[in-house]
Symmetry: C2
Subunit: 425 residues, 2 copies
């Protein structure tokens, strides 16, 4: 039948994702063939640790030498699921130079060396696909690159780190404070032994750099993404937010403002009723806004071997069926936009501060905010004596004005703690 | 530059969607060219009503003769946004026979004559794309066909009718009863003058037939979709549901059960916390479940000229960049699955019935349910005297058992009204 074509994959790595990709290709072979005409086969597996290879994987497929994969002329697509950055970069670089199309699930690699890889892909006219690198099984890269081609995207909000969303969801349900839930999440395998990259926001920042690059067609690197994490978010903050009708989430916010780009990651308050506020547990979601589409949201599992493998397999099939010269080969970053100055971005804020339990405190603080053109939308005053706390939500204002107001407020005698501030989306 | 290719579109119809497609192609021309290498041009516009054509559209583009579009060898892709079924069918049929790839936004056409069109597309090796026909700007067709190729989808729940979701969202907010909100929605343009197809469920059924066909690779026609609408859902029902922690939505439910297909549309109770329960206003959403992906949801505007046009344009660009022979040309319905018998489907139910205000009523009704293996999960008893009402939520049970129990319950003296029943998702 003329519609069938054999497509052979060289799989680099047989860990959690690699073995899931292998299994999925076996299991879905007939469906993929019938649905698309692609006769998908694993032609080579690169794995140094032979103990990872189960007995039912044909031994002659497995090699510990990269050259056996990349120099095999029958291999059409090289799939990198080995992790790390240096070796992975060399593998993908070499593979593209040798005429292979490539798929990777490696967000660290793309965030740190994406520029070189995307340029090479364009020059070599090779496909470089990476759906699995951001938000696991959620097809956000394909949707942005292909479906949103005429959508005029200007905003991408993402909940792109499952660990932090899991922790914050449980804090919202008042199941414990940050440290307790983190410890429990580590026991349950929802958080790494060293959770720094997740809870500190670096993981989300790497993903937002990729999403912003695709959405705005301009390369954003990890170094351009300002980020903060959830380590200092307390159960009390989450409770105050809840009382005011908000849910605290670690949010990535990428915006196109006056032809410049702003990409940041921060814990933020989302109003109950915002679609992102309902993203529970370790799920991920991406919320897109564009002039032509209004609002679109995609939600799903952000991690897991099998869900991630479905994204890798869809990339493979997509390459097999896309014209080899022409379509969105790299990240289609065809322009170079500057970064929008952080201080000029408009945000609303949540503020919590311990205050002296005396008359006129709110007036003093409100007066400082007023001098800096920051207006207050909501207020709660709690406790008595040494426990007195003031919680405020501001209207949106330029961040430089807000932070100037906070600096001034710190000098007030009535403010007895460093103010805790969180953005409000 | 060798990566650029001119792709010329013949646009059939210049109404709301057609004119938006035209504008979007003009506006996004340079971005599409830079991002994909496709130099997209409108080569012909078929429109009989010349008053619809604004002065800035070149007159030599416009024709009132279909042959001028389909016999123009420079036209690569024919886009049908003219509506109706008979003429639209002839246009697409002829276009594919004459070697054109085609895009349509016409769900009625696909639901009534999809089989013939998909078969023709396969035989002629033409692309037939229809992203805009279901859920407007939400790229659910592309995601299911391409990204979910290895996802093993077994369930598709959809909120695919904006009018009913708008009405039910406002009923949930207790802004009025069904008739009041419908009348207001008609005034505001959220509901048609004749809303029958929307509120009665037929519109959603046509869309679910298409979604089920793509998800399960087996052709489902409109005639195979059992549907009911929201006309009989009262404000009291919505309030009882809310009190029990549920939101009422018009839901399309397509499931693959034991290699057979069940596709239905009905008003249903969704637990608060279910991602679909948060879909507000006239938005649409599609919730996908598969063995390999867990759960994925897509949300966005289900209608509107410009959002729908973004889906049409993405189909055009996608065709321009997909290998012409091989990839998912038709609906990839490569198998023929039978329909799962309705009575065998397991569902939980909400029941509301007026009852005699006397002791032992619940015991009598519970006993009837028990005899039919229907167990009760929640109960509210309200009112006194002639106003007494009993509201029950059952555990999931085979629907034939449930309906047998309801028939029996109707014969009880203590049941003073026809029981109102709604499924619970």
């Amino acid at each position: 039948m003329d519609r069938q074509r054999i497509v052979r994959v060289g799989l680099l790595g047989f860990g959690t994702i690699g073995s899931s990709v292998y299994r999925l290709i076996q299991k879905e072979h007939d469906q993929i063939l019938e649905g698309t005409g692609v006769d998908l086969q694993v032609g080579r597996v690169l794995e140094i640790d032979s103990s990872k290879i189960p007995a039912d994987v044909p031994q002659d497929l497995v090699t510990s030498e990269f050259s056996q994969v990349v120099d095999d002329p029958s291999i059409d697509i090289v799939v990198e699921v080995i992790g790390g950055t240096d070796a992975a970069f060399i593998f993908l670089d070499t593979a593209m130079r040798k005429g292979k199309n490539v798929v990777t699930a490696n967000k660290q690699l793309l965030a740190s060396r994406g520029e070189a890889l995307f340029t090479l892909a364009r020059d070599q006219k090779r496909h470089l696909r990476f759906e699995a690198a951001v938000a696991g099984a959620i097809p956000v890269i394909k949707v942005m690159r292909e479906s949103m081609i005429a959508a005029e995207l200007h905003t991408v909000y993402g909940i792109v780190n499952g660990t932090t969303n899991y922790i914050l969801s449980r804090m919202y349900n008042e199941e414990g404070d940050y440290a307790e839930i983190l410890a429990n999440a580590q026991e349950l395998g929802y958080a790494e032994a060293d959770p720094t990259a997740d809870v500190g926001g670096a993981d989300a920042a790497a993903k937002m750099a990729i999403l912003a690059s695709i959405a705005f067609h301009s390369r954003v690197t990890l170094g351009q993404v300002a980020y903060s994490g959830i380590e200092n978010v307390t159960l009390a903050d989450v409770r105050y937010a809840k009382e005011l009708g908000f849910v605290v989430k670690l949010v990535g916010a990428a915006r196109l403002i006056d032809d410049r780009v702003s990409v940041r990651v921060f814990p933020a308050l989302l109003p109950v009723g915002h679609p992102l506020s309902a993203i529970y547990g370790s799920n991920n979601a991406v919320f897109l806004q564009g002039d032509a589409i209004g609002e679109i949201m995609l939600m799903g599992p952000g991690a897991g071997g099998v869900p991630t493998a479905t994204a890798v397999v869809s990339d493979i099939v997509s390459i097999a069926n896309t014209k080899s010269v022409g379509f969105l080969q790299s990240c289609s970053c065809y322009r170079r936009l500057g970064m929008y100055p952080a201080g000029e971005v408009e945000s609303a804020f949540f503020i919590k501060v311990s205050v002296a339990d005396q008359a006129g405190v709110l007036a003093q603080i409100a007066s400082v905010f007023g001098e800096h053109s920051v207006s207050i939308a909501n207020m709660i005053q709690k406790g008595r004596g040494d426990e007195a706390e003031l919680v405020l939500i501001t209207h949106p204002t330029k961040e430089k004005h807000f932070f100037a107001a906070i600096e001034k407020a710190k000098t007030l005698q009535c403010c007895k703690s460093e103010p805790m501030t969180l953005r409000v989306l």
